[in-house]
Symmetry: C2
Subunit: 315 residues, 2 copies
Amino acid sequence: MTVSRTMSGGRNVRPEVQVRVRAAADQLGYRPNQSARNTRLRRPTGLIGVAVTNLGNPYYGQFALGIEDVAAQNGRHILIGNTREDPSRERELLDDFAGRQVEGLIIVPAGNGLSVLGEGQVTSSMPLVLATRAVQGVRSDTVLVDDVGGAVAGTTALIDDGHSRVAFLGDISGIPTARRRFEGFNSALDARGLGFDESLLYSVRDADSALQAVAGSLGGHNPPTAFFSTNNRTTVGALRAVWNHRRNHPGLEVPAIASFDDVELADLLDVPLTVMSHDPRALGAQAARMLFERLAGDAPSEPRTISMPVTVQRY
Amino acid sequence: MTVSRTMSGGRNVRPEVQVRVRAAADQLGYRPNQSARNTRLRRPTGLIGVAVTNLGNPYYGQFALGIEDVAAQNGRHILIGNTREDPSRERELLDDFAGRQVEGLIIVPAGNGLSVLGEGQVTSSMPLVLATRAVQGVRSDTVLVDDVGGAVAGTTALIDDGHSRVAFLGDISGIPTARRRFEGFNSALDARGLGFDESLLYSVRDADSALQAVAGSLGGHNPPTAFFSTNNRTTVGALRAVWNHRRNHPGLEVPAIASFDDVELADLLDVPLTVMSHDPRALGAQAARMLFERLAGDAPSEPRTISMPVTVQRY
DNA sequence: CTGTTAGCGCATTCAT
DNA sequence: ATGAATGCGCTAACAG
């Protein structure tokens, strides 16, 4: 008990004894076992579980930073896992997080919108905030991006520049976010009385496949004059392809790109670029704040959905 | 006991009973308490503590991804914290990690090489791998980058291009990595019989300050013809400054940049660029592998230091 | 100020 | 195949 008391503040232990206890602890490398401590105190673990779809994407680095920041302010730590868009990996992570008694979850749902979260096992037992994508059948706090509005604005800007034949780069069957952006894209075309040529829909996810798609598209018959890119990975590919195209065909009009998400240095590239951007770090911070509000009990019982604004910039 | 047995595999429990148990568990949202489990089994937690200096930097996103990958393969999860180069935050994290009985640590030491790790409290009690930077007085497995060799190679390439007046962008007093790269930079100049003009040493850390420094430098008397940039953040700033300079002074020779660390899209920028790069994801994976080797007991008792190779590319 | 008792949730061991 | 007793490391509550 004297040791226990000393290690947890030292109330009611003689200072000199405390010194001896600490010295011995240092010597022996003793540290109180938090697992046992938590067991006994029936205390929350101070852990937040975070699952993202691609840790290697700078976007999610910023996102994680936003969460970490707010978590640290609230004395919590984050357990982070990468789902690689793989629902089974997501399930593993969720099970593990739950078993570790995390206090809450911030999840970027993997896959096509029917993630394992929909089964409702984990989600009912602890506070959950969904980020970036909603999941069918899951009623929980959610932080979305104004995908539709942003896509409408970006596409409209493209149209106003005179583009009427615009290709779309994104995996609308696999990724809900891409689907919503496609919606906005389409309704902007509609609003201007333009149709979308289905042959200009490229189902790509990463930079390489986007590069191939754009290169192929520009090399084909009746190529588009602009590309709508759904995320920063596909934008990188599109930029490279357009860059190559410009180098190989000097004098020709340079195809324009409308990119959802910003890419560092893209503004210097001399490619007509419309960026529909938002701040992933702010998104992460917002998700974390919603989670902590709920943990603190001062959130309404109804799930809240917040939509992060999207701004359009031209380069 | 029947529940316990069922939840941990179901040996010696009648199948029909197992079904009922699982049903009830689902219904109630019951999940075995890992803390209690670990306490009883005196089992390791399956957690790895990771501390990086800047989670928002894409470099560390890749680094974390490399760790996560290997950790997942080994059935471990990662607890990640951001130190913001702040030693006191590092200490907090380390204490917390230790208290949570993480099985091992992968740390990018914060600050100037005399991190709190030097005090030896935490480090003696569990396996530790230092990444990117070494710490004075700490003998542990370490994964470094060939900073000196890479800097020599990059600087030499610059000199061979005819540059004799090269500025240096990096915080050599605050960041050990920058110091080592400065060493290589200097010895390459020496080897070619060139001196370094101390007035061309800019102690910058982030993109903005690097941009200011380069802009100022190019606007001054006797400006350098090239810049050595110590990391991807300072490189982004330098690229922007050089870009602006070229736009404002067409016809003038464009200053060259030698960048330690690659930056996405920089190769398209039409700025003479020498990149000394390595793969942060591989570095993370390597650090994780060393940690798990040690945990498995099949590592030599002597601490090992591995140096990741640096390749030089020209754009 | 310090020690004793009891119990957190779980699993090993030994009964039945 | 199931249950009872016991103890993991810790601390609240109660002695003294």
